[in-house]
């Protein structure tokens, strides 16, 4: 249970830069996800923390101790791999006890701890089976038990749920989170799946092209994305181009498609700079045309172009003033038909103006 600090860590392979200089702190007991598309540098970052990859520049510290040049086996970490990486020639019990034996724990203590862990993952009956004789979900739990057997300083998880089907993935998300919190272990989780990152993490670091684009809680990332990339990568969002007009009464104002819209700006854009307005589909409500609205609201008058149903959601496309917005609402709230004139209203507080 320790914090992890990366200071100015970068990695280059020849002339190819896999990771730009990165500063990142994972707090004690925190569950932090590195989220991004493949090739964004998230796996490289994880491997640098694990010690499989030596950073080109910068320092790695675990629990305040500089481990930049410490080999993996001396870093006291646990790790769960995408392909489980269970030892095929050992039983489940021996797999879980692997790290304990390397730490010269007595045989009796090892057996007691392995039993405890098998109970923790709710699989006491598979102790004597071999990895080839258990299911993918069971294998991943065993891999998790192996990684936390000796209570490591940090738990690293490298897309551990990628090989599981959707249902098993959801069950395992809760399982991993429960075990991480029960043991209070600092965890670094790598994934390209934004729902996974959102549902499990204390904080998320979104990465792109070897750069950390934004770091914050799931809520912060979702509500206040700092760039178009983050906005588009995490959930659905409407984007529209325009020009920044400046501040007014603590709010940012921009002109988008001839409309004067209020919101909050990411950073401090110059007056006249091009900005992109970003608004989540579920933040917009549809009312009848010409309904009175509050001064704090943004308004677009348009017509409904299309309506799609996705079970629990209705997705409505509204077009007006040369832009089109996707609006998500519950089917019961839908009171308009295709082709009808409507007024789309959304609060300034949820409107973002992005410059990059």
């Amino acid at each position: 249970m320790s914090s992890v600090t990366l200071t100015g860590v970068s990695k280059a392979y020849g002339s190819v830069t896999a990771l730009q200089p990165l500063d990142l702190e994972i707090r004690e007991g925190e569950f932090l996800s590195l989220l991004g598309p493949s090739g964004c540098g998230k796996t490289t970052t994880l491997r640098i923390v694990a010690g499989f990859v030596e950073p080109t520049t910068g320092h790695v510290a675990i629990g305040g101790r500089d481990v930049t040049h410490t080999p993996p086996q001396k870093r006291n970490i646990g790790m769960v791999f995408q392909d489980y990486a269970l030892f095929p020639h050992m039983t489940v019990a021996d797999n879980i006890g692997f790290g304990l034996r390397e730490r010269r724990v007595s045989r009796a203590q090892e057996q007691a701890r392995v039993r405890e862990l098998l109970d923790l993952i709710h699989l006491p009956q598979i102790a004597d089976r071999f990895p080839s004789e258990i299911s993918g979900g069971q294998a991943q739990r065993v891999a998790l038990a192996r990684a936390v057997a000796y209570t490591p300083a940090v738990l690293l998880l490298d897309e551990p749920l990628g090989a599981l089907d959707l249902k098993m993935r959801e069950a395992m998300q809760a399982e991993i989170r429960r075990i991480q919190q029960e043991l209070g272990i600092t965890a670094l989780y790598v994934t390209h799946d934004q729902t996974e990152a959102m549902s499990m993490s204390d904080r998320i670091a979104v990465m792109k092209d070897g750069v950390m684009a934004q770091i914050g809680t799931a809520q912060e990332i979702y509500d206040s994305p700092s760039s178009r990339f983050v906005a588009g990568f995490v959930g659905q969002i409407n984007l529209a181009e325009g020009t920044f007009l400046g501040g007014d009464a603590g709010q940012a104002v921009a002109e988008i498609a001839g409309l004067r819209l209020r919101g909050t700006a990411a950073g401090t854009p110059n007056v006249g700079a091009p900005v992109t307005m970003a608004i989540r589909p579920e933040a917009i409500v549809l009312t009848s045309a010409c309904t009175q609205t509050g001064a704090q609201d943004n308004v677009l008058d348009g017509t409904i172009k299309a309506i799609g149903f996705a079970g629990n959601l209705a997705r409505v496309e509204v077009e007006g003033a040369g832009i089109s917005l996707i609006v998500e609402l519950r089917p019961a709230e839908l009171r308009h038909a295709r082709g009808e004139a409507v007024r789309a209203v959304w609060p300034a507080a949820r409107t973002r103006f992005l410059t990059e």
Binding site: P72, Q73, R146, A147
Partner: protein, 285 residues
Amino acid sequence: MTARWHLLLIVPFVVVFALTAASQFVFIERSLYEQRSFGRVGTELTLINYANFLTDRFYLNILWNTVKVSALATFFTLLLTFPLAYVIARMRSRWASVLIAGVVVSTFVTIVIKVFGLRIIFSSNGAVNRMLISLGITDRPYTIIGTEEGVVIGLMHFTIGFGVLILYSVVQTIPRSLEFAAQVHGASRLRTFWRVILPISLPGLVAAALMIFNMCMGAFTSAALLGGGRVLTLPVLIQRTVMMETKFAFGGALAAILLVCVIAINLLSIFILTRMVSGRRKVLA
């Protein structure tokens, strides 16, 4: 309609059978008649040729020597090739394929040429002896011709390429992540090798060992050229018996004994391995 085309397979079967089994059969059948002088054989079925072999210290010594040099060559070949195969299998640059190509090419260069290379390197004013003398390790040139070490080196020269190729494919089947997992959970490189890589590659190692051992037991050229007439192995003895002394019946007996020994040693090894593995379950098989 039954598949009549199966009948067509009889033709290649007969050809293959004639080329492999028939010649062996002729030899073994011949070995059951008494060997007389000037290449003549007796007319009654007898095991006298086998009895002559098994009661003569000279022949038994040759059999023992053959097993010994083969086992030594096998052991050292594996010892040398496993690290090499491991490094090539784990390389991620394109040099890996260059190295493998190099191994393949040198493996299929005829052994005669390779042995002459060895003879030049180890000749009295060759590279090895000049180095040994200039370092003061020895004052007389050391020769590998006609020594057991020489034969072992010659056999290794013959089998090393095959060893690298077999073990390369063995190491490739071990996912890299298993090594990462061992290391990250506290095992040093040495412990990772001992607890993970070695046990997982054990069946492949045994298969490679048996194949290399069998090649050594039957190797003629390197044993003949480096034995120099002073170190005799069974294949060399068979060649002399048949070609120089025209004793076909006795030569047949020698060949049969070699065959039985090799099969027995192989079966025994497989038996021991399966016993070892069944102690830890069938997963490795």
